[in-house]
Amino acid sequence: MAQVGITSQVAAEQDGAGATNAKPVVAQNLIKEFGELVAVRGIDFEVRPGECFGFLGPNGAGKTSTMRMITCASPVTSGSLLVNGMPVQTQARAVKSIIGVVPQGDNLDDEITVIDNLRLYAGYFGIGRAEANTRARSALELFQLADRANSKVDELSGGMKRRLLIARGLINEPSIIVLDEPTTGLDPQARHLVWRTLRRLKDQGVTMLLTTHYMDEAATLCDRLIVMHEGRILAEGTPLELIRRIAGETVIEAHSLDVAALDRIAEHLRDAGAEIEQTPDTVHAFGLNGTDVTESNVHGAQIYSRPANLEDVFLRLTGRGLEE
């Protein structure tokens, strides 16, 4: 009898999820203020079903604030934010029941075992005990943690904890999964394992929202992304579109500690029609597409050409200075 009660409660909680045709996320003139500080300054974006949508930007750009509004962890100051057609302000419970959250920090429950972490988290969604146990077992299998089911959380490696966090975020079989820097602090093997997992989820049609500081991660995972800076969206598109539009095809890069040498190289490249960005030890030249410079030493500086990448886009848009 109790079982029936709990099951019907889950159904009731997920009732709002019925609007399957709705866009996963639609933000219009979305604003977030913390007192005087304006973290998000009226942004608009739409996430399409089944895509992986990335939020890039330096620290303080407003990415995490935006994500926290989507996951109903932080109230919207003003504007409209719909998740599967439901306004987050009024339907938080229904929104949260169809979202899986993978936080940046490890907030696993370290007083209980690995499998209890999954079972109790399922319980928070109102998933009945038997079903929670089944889901927990299969999640551990899927994330290669089955032999750690009865370990304490603090006996796990960093990579295992991250896998457990992702497994936990999927326990409610969400249609949208929100990941905040999912591979920060992981070694390359663990990173690739996480990426593989995320690609598999995408194949299953799960919509993914992710923030990252790794441009290779954004390039390999994201179908579309936005670059944020100081609470605004500076650019939006597929990784390749953004690279072509903002950084072109080829970047010529010169390194030296000799500022005079860099100045001379910058001048030559500018004369050749390049757009120059210069820091005390580096020159980046954009716009000389197709130019091939084999690595060589010119005027006492190392110079070479390479294909433009997402990191170029990011730095061109958000600047090369350190802003904290």
Binding site: Q9, E13, F34, T71, A73, S74, P75, A92, R93, A94, K96, S97, I99, V101, P103, G105, D106, N107, L108, D109, D110, E111, I112, D116, L120, Y121, G123, Y124, F125, G126, N172
Partner: protein, 257 residues
Amino acid sequence: MLLTPERVPFGFRVWRRNWTVFKKFAMAEVGPLFVEPLVVLGAMGIGLGAYVSLSGDESYVQFIGPGIVGGYSLFAAFFECTYGSYTRMAIRGLYEAMIATPLSIEDVITGEVLWGATRSVFSATVILFVLTVMGFVDSPLAILIPPLAFLGGILFSSMALLVTAHAPSFWTFNYAITLGVMPMYFFGGVFFPLERYPDVVRELAWIIPLTPYVAVIRELVAGSLSMTTVWGLLYLVVLGAAFYYLAVARMKARLIR
């Protein structure tokens, strides 16, 4: 508005998490649960009691027994919802993890209050059991003490969570205990009858939530109910509702930005 019947099942999900952890460490908890009140009953009741004469023919250990039931259920709820809740909230980040699920912060705090009240029931029941075995319980009405401990536990847990909501670190709780809980324990009618006080102080002592709580326990143990129980229960309910409301509001202010 807050502790509504619809809220309870959501709070119960949080309660279940704490119960799961408690069961694992139950053996470590059960010992102190028995030992400490017994030490107090022994030292105060039998040791100090030899020098104490009460107005009736009641022994001192008989007098303080119900007070210890009240005092230790207060401690159980208060410690759980200060040190315990602060650890879950600030050290382990569990509240953050929980509110990423359909649970709201109101649900989480409700679950914590229900759990603190449960700990209060455990403590009260254990000591009541000991007192019964020792032959100090006169009335079958004492069976109502565990549910009363749940009600008192809701109040004490809510008071504790209100402190936790403002705590920058664990040190805050030392102040709360030294300046709040221990004075309640010593002046709330646990160790000596309120008649010892001058009239004004005696009236004021009823403001301390432990005073009516212990007074009701005394009447249940003795089996002689008076208006004290009616007013005491009313006061506990009203104060409990007020502190619960405040605790939720302040926790929301702390955690939701």
